[in-house]
Structure formats: C-alpha cells, structure tokens
C-alpha cells in the first residue's frame, strides 16, 4: 500500500467510474472495468486513481506535477482528451488512454514516436556558421511580435499530446498529417531569428493541407492555446508558395 491520500472518512457521494484496463501479460484486448470511488469535494480524476491505487487496484497511469504543468497525465475522459489532474470527478465517468498511441499498460501509452519525429523535423534553429557570441556582440534582432508569441503561445505548450489525440485527420503515426503539435513546434522554430531552414516546405510535407479547420485541437488544449490558428497561419503561407503545389506528398521530412 502506498497511501497517496489521507483516508476518506465522510465521502460526499459514492461514484461509479469505468476504466479501460489492459495488461499485456494477461489480456489480449483492452476491457472495461468499473470501480467505486468515494467522492469528496474538489476530487480530481488523478486523485481517484490514486485512491484506487491505495486500495490495491494497481492501475498504471502517468502523473507528476498534479498541477497542469508537466503534461504527462493526459487521457481520454468521456471521450475527450484532457488532463486528469485538471478534471473534476463525475459519476459514471469513462476513463481510457489516449487513442492515438499504442497502449503499454492500462492508461499509459507509448509516446516515444513524438520525440523521434521532433528530431526528424530538426526543431532547432538551423543556420550557417556564425561567430560565437562575445560580451560586446549585439543582441539578437528578434522581432517584438516573435517575443510575444514565444511568451504567449510557444513556451506555454506542455506537450500533453491532447491536440494530437483530438485531431480527426491524424489518428495514428501512419496518417499523412502529422498533427497540430508538430505544426506548433514548426511555427515556433520558424519565428526564431537565427533559423534559416525552409519550414514552410517542411510543414507542407508534413501534410498541413490535410487540416480540415475543425479547431478541435484548440477546443481540447488544457493551456487554452490555439494550435489551429497557428496551423492556419502556416498553411496560408504554404498556399502562397507555387513550388509546393505539387510537392505536398509526404516525403521523409527533414
């Protein structure tokens, strides 16, 4: 027993929740199981899972910060991807892992392809050789809007992969559209003053024209960012580039 929570003496109600369980050693397919959780005011889904863990129900899940900062606890709650630490428990809730990724166990999914793709997209400022900065070298000429965007949008993404999960055009790694998260990261590095790589072509090759303007990524983002607006801005740049007109098929992006 691990004892995450103080014992609950007077619960406000007893809630039934359902969790999609999968144990690779025992099960061939995931299956639903229902649990009873005593609800106290302000109890979140993470706390319910921790309560169950205290009771000896070892349901695998990821969480670290419990305050919507690390982005590791994203799961599908009633079908909508959300942070489990940011969602209050409700009666009859159905909790399942993110459906875009392969499940490792219970609510833990294998997201290892995301950093690999980040690497393949070369999400760092790529530029020709420059003299290393010294004490009197002038500061980088960053546009004020870029600084604003970094502060307001790009640095606030916690990479919880909710937007990837919600995107109807990118339901697995094999789909032609990479997903909103990658587009946000491409836009981020595009605005860096040192970057010289052709990010617009990269976005076109990553299938940005497959976006259908449903704005579901903006709808589910726990940090209230709007990846869809960024995707739209990037795409309005790709549709103005004639050389990308026929090159939009997905190549090895890099």
């Amino acid at each position: 027993m691990t004892c995450y929570l103080p014992p609950i003496d007077k619960p406000d109600a007893i809630y039934n929740i359902q969790i999609l369980r999968f144990d690779p050693e025992k099960d061939r397919y995931p299956h639903w199981e229902s649990y009873q959780v005593p609800f106290v005011r302000t109890m979140t889904v993470i706390e319910a899972l921790e309560y169950l863990w205290d009771q000896g129900e070892y349901i695998a899940f990821r969480s670290n910060c419990r305050e919507f900062t690390c982005g590791s606890c994203a799961m599908e709650i009633n079908g909508k991807p959300a942070l489990a630490c940011d969602t209050l428990l409700e009666d009859g809730m159905r909790i399942e892992p993110l459906s875009r990724f392969p499940v490792i166990k219970d609510l833990v999914v294998d997201t290892s392809t995301v950093p690999e793709r980040f690497k393949a997209l070369k999400l760092w400022p790529e530029c020709k050789h420059r003299e290393p900065a010294t004490k009197d070298s002038p500061p980088l000429p960053a546009a004020k809007s870029a600084i604003e965007h970094y502060r307001e949008t790009y640095s606030r993404c916690i990479e919880c992969y909710s937007c990837l999960d919600a995107c109807p055009q990118s339901d697995s790694d094999e789909s032609p559209y990479f997903g909103p998260l990658y587009m946000l990261q491409l836009a981020r590095v595009m605005e860096h003053p040192l970057d010289e790589k052709d990010r617009v072509a990269q976005a076109a090759e990553a299938g940005i024209s497959h976006c259908i303007n449903c704005y579901e990524c903006a709808n589910v983002c726990p940090m209230n960012l709007s990846p869809a607006t960024i995707v739209n801005e990037l795409r309005s740049k790709t549709i103005r580039r004639l050389d990308l007109l026929f090159g939009r098929r997905r190549k090895e992006v890099g």
Partner: protein, 130 residues
Amino acid sequence: MGDVTRSRKKVTQRFLERTFRGRPMGIGSYVWMFQRLTGLVLAFYLGLHLLVLGSALKGGASFNQVMAMLETPWIKVLETALVWVALFHTANGIRLVLLDLVPSLNQRSLAYGALVVTIVLGAMGTSFMW
C-alpha cells in the same frame, strides 16, 4: 505493441461518444461534418441532374413527361432541401476560404455567421418557391 491495443477512433465514434457523454465537440467539428454530408448530397445531385436533363432532351413528349414529374410536391420538397444544402455548403465554403486567407479571423463567429446566412437565405428561398 500490436495495433489491437490502440482504439484509433474515427470521427463518427468520437462524435457519438462526446456528444452523448457531456463533452460536446466545438462548432467547427459539427459544421465540418455537415460540410462533408452536404458535399456528398451535392455530388449525388449533380449526377441526378444530368440524368434527368438527358432524359428530358430526347424529344417533345419526354420533355413534357419529365416536367410533369418535376411538378409533384415530393420533388418540390426535395428541391427545397437541396436549396438549404447548397446554401450551407456555399456559406461554410466561403468561411473556409476566408480562414485560409486571413487566419486570425475568429472561426467560431464565422461558423455562426455561416449558419445565420444559411437560415436567412434558406427561408427567403423557401418562401419564394412555395
């Protein structure tokens, strides 16, 4: 990891799940679904239109026959529905083009605007036809 473990939900499944479990999707998703459906209807209608026109142009007698068939109330109801479908498809299509040209526009108000335009013009068209 095999693929059995991941659910890879399709948009219809997501739509049903979220709509009936108190987590509705944004208006963008719903108008997108309507856009697809109305697009299919319009494509189907195009074929039908050509077929009817082709059979009407065979001669005077068949022309009169087809015209009489088109006057029946059922066909008129379908035509009214077609007007609504085409209006919605046009209005939302204009919204999508606007979003492509000016990405910073608010898609939600544009979607509601498209719906309002559809309803106003559709009501006008319906009263004009009947």
